[in-house]
Structures are given as C-alpha cells and as structure tokens.
Symmetry: none
Subunit: 201 residues, 2 copies
Amino acid sequence: MSETRPAARRRGRRPAGEDTRSALLAAARVEFAERGFDGATVRRIADRAGVDAAMVNHWFGGKERLFTASLDLPMDPDAILAEVLPGDPEQLGERIIAMFLRVWDATGGGPLAALIRSVAGHEQAARMMREFVARVILGRFIREVAPDRPDLRAALCATQIIGLGMIRYVLRLEPLASADHQTVVTTIAPSLQRYLTGELG
Amino acid sequence: MSETRPAARRRGRRPAGEDTRSALLAAARVEFAERGFDGATVRRIADRAGVDAAMVNHWFGGKERLFTASLDLPMDPDAILAEVLPGDPEQLGERIIAMFLRVWDATGGGPLAALIRSVAGHEQAARMMREFVARVILGRFIREVAPDRPDLRAALCATQIIGLGMIRYVLRLEPLASADHQTVVTTIAPSLQRYLTGELG
C-alpha cells in the first residue's frame, strides 16, 4: 500500500501534523457553521477532530485565526492588513482595490464564486461571513482608519468590494471582467476611499 | 421581465390560465432556488404546480424564459426607466438607489439571494444576466445619460448596485441591512452618480 501514497507521506515529512491541521480545519468549519464564532469552543473543535486542544494553538495560534483559516480565503487577513495599512490613509482605497485584484485574479475567480454561492445559499455561511467582517475587517481594521461610524463604513466598503468581485469574477461583465488593474483602481478606489474616510453625508 | 404576454393571453385567456401561470412561477421559484438552473427540470416544476409540463412552453416558451420570469425582478424595466430617467441627471444616482430599495425591500430579499446563487453557480444564468445588463441597462439607459464610456460606466454601476443588494439582502450585514432608505441613498448615491456622469479618472 505504501507505494501508492504521496511522496511527502512516504518520505515521512510531518504526515501526522498535516493530518491534524486538516482535521482541525474540517472540524472548525462544522463547529463555526453550527454555533457561530462566539458559540464555538476550541475544545469542542479539537474533540471533533480527535486531537488535543493544544493543537489549535500549535497550528493556528488561537480560535480567531483558526476561524479565518476555516473560511478558506486565498489570503491571510493578517498579511493583507500588514500590507495595505501602512501609507497615506487617503490612498488606502487604492491599496485595498489593488490588493483585492492581485489576490483574486490569481485564483481565476472560482473560489470567490463558490464563496458567494455559499453565502447566498446558506444562512450559516452568511453568519460566518458576517462574523468575519465584524471581527477582522471591522474590529481590526476599520476602527483604526475610521473611528467615525465604523460599522456603517465597513458595510459600505463591503458593498463596493463584494460588488466588484461579483461583476469581475462571477458575472464576468465586460469591460470590467478583463480591465487592467490600473483602470479598476482609478475608477473604483475613489468610491471606497469616500466610504473609508470621506464625508458620508 | 415577466411582462411578455403570451399569444394565448392576448387571445383572451380565462382566469384559470392566470392561475396556471402564477402556479408555475411560484413552483419555478422554489425549484430554481433549490436546484439552480441546470438542476431544475420543467417536469418537476409542472409537477409542483400541479399542471401539465406543456403549460411551461405555452405560458413562457421554455425553461429559460420561465427562469427569467421567475427571477422576479420585481419590476418592469420599461416602467423603471420611465420613473427614474426624468429629472435632474445629477440626481439620477439618488433616484436609482431609492427605486432599488423600494423594489427589493418589498420582496424581503429572497428572490435576490436566489438570483445571485444562480448567477454564481451557473454560467447560463450569468450569461442571461450579462445579456440583461447589455440589452436593458446599457442599451436603453446608460447610453442616454452617459455617452462617454457607457460600457465601463454600466459595469461600474453594476458593481455598486449588486454589491448593495448582496450586503443588504443576502449577507444582511448591519447597519446596512436595516438602514432606512434615506441613509442608504445619502451614503451610496454619490458613488453611483460618479459612475454615471462623473469624472472616472
């Protein structure tokens, strides 16, 4: 049997560890979907995965990062924030749109369609995304740049960003579907910038 | 989209025919929402409605036209255009957002979630929406108000409008999910207005 195994496993490079990580991610998706972020517990996720609860900290550094990992986003939110936050706050909209294009263009858009389908079809998935926005986008991002009405600004930003994703990657409506990054940034970033730091009226 | 009158109606179909049509639309909404365009079958829709499958062709001319009718775009595009176009072109963004809220709030958002799920899951549905945008939004609307780069402006408007729909009705992210119309119009209409008639950069 061993000759049919992947090379990495035959070489014995951390097979148990990768299995533990995968099992934790699968268990986390079920637990977060069923109970939401606040209701979920690290212990119950570890139990579901059949591993020790200490493995959550070992592999993910805690419940929140396990949560973001379980969303299967093509990015590490912490790395994203570290890259877009520094710099002129008045050009933050441009940096966010440019990053969004880099991240999702690289995937071909398929994972975004799957994510949107899931959110539109399953209240549990919608709840996970709401909590992601609330905890990560709002809690660790918007409040830093927009202390005035941060909840509303976060939701407004979400309309423009998810709308861009829908049109470029899911509906694939031209000319935005194949527009170069500079065109997309130039046309859309001002809207995002107003939602972030501008006068909302 | 559902305003196309079949020949049978022009010939004076009796109310029983309207009942059949309504029953088919109701059944189609359930079937398409549950299975998407490809998974849905004309036969199962007719069974759900308790009528013969031939009634789908009779009333709608086939599965695809039944699908567009069942999208329950709760509007007649011509009536929408007649209502939002007159007036100051510089307040067109406000009139469009206000109309969008009136139209979709009245549905509770369910049909929009079904529509987005179909578009995200089925290339055929995405193509139908692209054609709807090209024919109705672009062909009969944007060119009138924005002769400069109408294709790009139409796609940019689509990002903001579909994004608002996603956040308010599908993800139901607060505070936008339950914000009063004036707040939504005041905050979002300026973005739409720039896409319609403003400087794109």
